[in-house]
């Protein structure tokens, strides 16, 4: 079982996303993260999902996804060199000496404080999922009030493209 990043070009139509999500539920595949938005061509959405799967499973997953009528093209980004990024917004309790500590750690991770109140910081951080996890571990002594992660987005490195 390895983590895979599958990138899908999908017709930007009502109901298309539900078919992708439904397929995973129906065929007992798991979705770790899922991220979707329209592309520069507004008739297409680009969807990135991560899943834990064996080689055989990921072959079936890509074949089954390809069978969906609204899937135009897809690529398994983890087959080659790729870029991946995830965005996290995290609201932390920041009072007393904690305020400085949180700011220092954020700087180390090149995170930005994007909102401040007397008692809380909201921090924005982008990077690989591993970097976001590391930041969370480093903040484990702080009180997390709430947080949200975008799920992974990715592209292949170099000149390889996924387009129609």
């Amino acid at each position: 079982m390895r983590r895979r990043i599958i990138s899908v070009l999908l017709e930007n139509e009502a109901g298309a996303l539900s078919r992708v999500v439904g397929l995973f539920a129906q065929r007992n595949y798991n979705i770790e993260t899922l991220n979707v938005a329209p592309t520069d061509d507004e008739t297409l959405s680009r969807l990135t999902l991560t899943t834990l799967a064996t080689d055989e499973q990921v072959e079936q997953i890509t074949k089954q996804l390809n069978k969906l009528i609204e899937v135009v093209k897809l690529a398994n980004l983890t087959d080659g060199d790729h870029l991946e990024r995830e965005l996290m917004l995290i609201k932390l309790k920041a009072t007393g000496p904690q305020r400085d500590e949180i700011k220092r750690t954020s700087d180390i991770f090149r995170a930005q404080v994007v909102d401040v109140t007397q008692n809380a910081y909201t921090i924005q951080l982008t990077g690989t999922s591993g970097k976001l996890d590391a930041f969370l571990r480093a903040m484990s002594d702080s009180t997390v009030l709430e947080m949200v992660r975008s799920g992974v987005s990715g592209l292949s490195r170099g000149e390889k493209v996924l387009s129609i």
Partner: protein
């Protein structure tokens, strides 16, 4: 009210055109656009059931006479009829249902078609656009509820989308790996007072849907080379060959190569079953010789089959000596359950033609050693065949009818030429084993989903398509009662189906498993209080016979099939303790591990 004549309809159509003509484009309502689109697709029959959300559509249907609508007694019946129609003709079956319960009732039939890759287009009514999502009367999310069991679906939001959606629906349903497509239409979209220009697209192209049109020629060459080198070859073909119209080419390939062949439950008839190269059906209830030949072969050519768990038994023990060549239109079927050594994605008919061409050239050059190997392999197969695994055990002098004898008698009475629609259970397996099909599309059964209640409506679909052919429904006392209401539809449309009910007063297959795995505890598998079927069908205006003794069987069947224009229901009391054999030993058995008869295994 009598149906209007063509000229009247044309006249009304003409007036409409005159009144609303804009740039020579016809102006029609959504309901009329739908019906016209279906006419353009060459649809001749629709199976359906009206209701609130499809009233506009039914009114549009009333105003024409090119398409005949068959009013069923339940939406499930309508879907199975369309399914049987599609299986027997190769043309897509079309269904109309209303929203809510009409749509949900259709789901079992849609799932049945989906599992067996049958082309169907289901038009369902939907609540008014402005009411969708408000839990309005007879509203259900049809696209959502059918999503896992359709090839694709459309929810239309305005009438102008109808022609293209219908064009796409038929294109998707009938190409690639075939399957059911749902078109969900809100009531306001078919409103008769809103008129739109109608133009039916001649072609359709979709950037995201391009099924393979031929196989990879390098892979095909490699496959033929392997086949010609084989010492113990085996051909295993499935429903894809029937659906993909590949029977003729499969037959010619098999004969050219001189190889043994087996068909799956879905693939019966793809190769003539009375031919000596045919080893019978394989799988859970397959023949001793077919399953053994599968287990021992060294090269397996799988065509239009999907290595279903009912075929392979334990996958880890499947074909331990074989290299596998797998031809299928659906890439996802290849290496799903069993890894293929030579995968070939393409339409079976096209790939088979190419295989034939190369094999014909190659066979002539086959060495003497190879010919000897093949004949040695046939000797081994003939040894398995001599076991005569389908021999019927009859108690000397007993009048009790064995279910297998019923199928043999039906075969005799119909000269093996009937369309046989089966229900699901023991009788289905007996029919598959004891009625050898020499032609494709004659054996109509629910293989993938195993839907009880499929047989009668499916037979009705076949009879609608082929009014002059002999159509038989082989059923049991359990299955027939799952859609028995359709006897009324048969009366309305004069469908002279012959229903052979193998009545064992129980749910035979459930009972068999309970005998074998639950020490004979028959938990809820006895069917007490079935009606007197012969009298019941008479009340519908049909003919009913009851048979209890083997002495009467042939005589009654002869009379049954002589009543060409009547639906005849033959209720045949059979031995209720009979089991279906051969049968895989499972779980964890290989294909050669079989029960041959009660208490006797390999």
């Amino acid at each position: 009210m009598p149906a209007r004549s063509v000229s009247e309809v044309d006249f009304i159509g003409f007036r409409i055109i005159q009144k609303f003509q804009v740039n020579k484009v016809e102006m029609l309502s959504g309901g009329d656009i739908l019906i016209r689109s279906l006419q353009e697709e060459g649809v001749e029959h629709i199976f359906g059931y009206p209701g609130g959300a499809v009233l506009h559509i039914y009114d549009a249907l009333f105003k024409q006479n090119r398409i005949q609508h068959i009013l069923t007694r339940h939406e499930q019946g309508a879907t199975h009829m369309a399914d049987g129609y599609a299986r027997s003709t190769g043309r897509p079956g079309v269904v109309f249902v209303t929203s809510g319960p009409g749509a949900t009732n259709a789901i079992t039939g849609i799932a049945t078609a989906y599992m067996d890759s049958i082309p169907m287009v289901i038009v369902s009514g939907q609540a008014h656009t402005h009411l969708i999502g408000t839990d309005s009367f007879q509203e259900t999310d049809m696209v959502g509820i059918s999503r896992p069991v359709v090839k694709h679906s459309f929810l239309l939001k305005n009438a102008e989308e109808i022609p293209e959606a219908i064009k796409k629906a038929f294109y998707i349903a009938t190409t690639g790996r075939k399957g059911p497509v749902v078109v969900d239409i809100p009531k306001d979209v078919t409103n008769p007072t809103d008129l739109f220009p109608f133009e039916y697209p001649e072609t359709v192209s979709m950037r995201s849907y391009n099924p393979a049109s031929k196989g990879h020629s390098g892979q095909i060459k490699k496959a033929v080379a392997m086949l010609l080198e084989a010492e113990r070859p085996m051909i295993y073909s499935g429903g894809g060959v029937v659906q993909g119209n590949g029977s003729e080419d499969l037959t010619s390939l098999t004969r050219t190569l001189g190889f043994p062949i087996t068909n799956t439950l879905m693939g019966l008839g793809a190769y003539p079953a009375t031919d000596k190269q045919f080893l019978g059906m394989l799988g859970m209830h397959g023949t001793f010789e077919a399953n053994n030949a599968m287990h021992h072969c060294d090269i397996l050519l799988a065509i239009g089959a999907r290595f279903d768990d009912r075929v392979t038994n334990a996958v880890s023990k499947f074909c331990p000596y074989a290299k596998i060549i797998h031809v299928d239109i659906d890439p996802a079927s290849i290496s799903k359950n069993v890894v293929a050594d030579v995968p070939i994605v393409g339409p079976v008919e096209v790939v088979l033609k190419e295989l034939c061409r190369l094999a014909e050239a190659g066979v002539a050059k086959r060495s003497e050693k190879q010919t000897a190997m093949l004949s040695e392999w046939w000797d081994q197969i003939e040894g398995w065949r001599r076991q005569d695994c389908l021999k019927i055990d009859v108690d000397e002098g007993s009048k009790v009818i064995k279910p297998q004898q019923v199928i043999e008698a039906v075969y005799k009475a119909t000269k093996g030429e009937a369309y046989i629609a089966s229900d699901v259970g023991q009788h289905q397996m007996f029919a598959a084993l004891y009625y050898p099909f020499d032609q494709p599309r004659r054996w109509i059964n629910s293989g993938g989903l195993g839907t009880m209640g499929f047989g009668l409506p499916a037979a009705m679909g076949v009879q609608t398509a082929f009014p002059d052919e002999t159509v038989v429904c082989i059923t049991g006392d359990g299955s027939i009662q799952m859609n028995i209401q359709e006897l009324s539809t048969c009366a309305q449309y004069g469908l002279p189906i012959k229903i052979i009910c193998i009545n064992n007063r129980s749910l035979g297959m459930v009972r068999q498993w309970q005998d074998m795995q639950y020490e004979g505890r028959h938990s809820n598998s006895d069917l007490d209080s079935s009606p007197n079927f012969a009298k019941l069908v008479e009340s519908y205006g049909h003919v009913g016979f009851s048979v209890t003794s083997i002495d009467d069987l042939d005589v009654v069947l002869e009379e049954t099939f002589s009543l060409k224009n009547k639906l005849v229901f033959v209720d045949i009391a059979v031995d209720s303790n009979e089991h279906t054999y051969p049968m895989f030993v499972s779980p964890n058995g290989s294909m050669r591990d079989m029960w041959i008869k009660k208490g006797v295994r390999t």
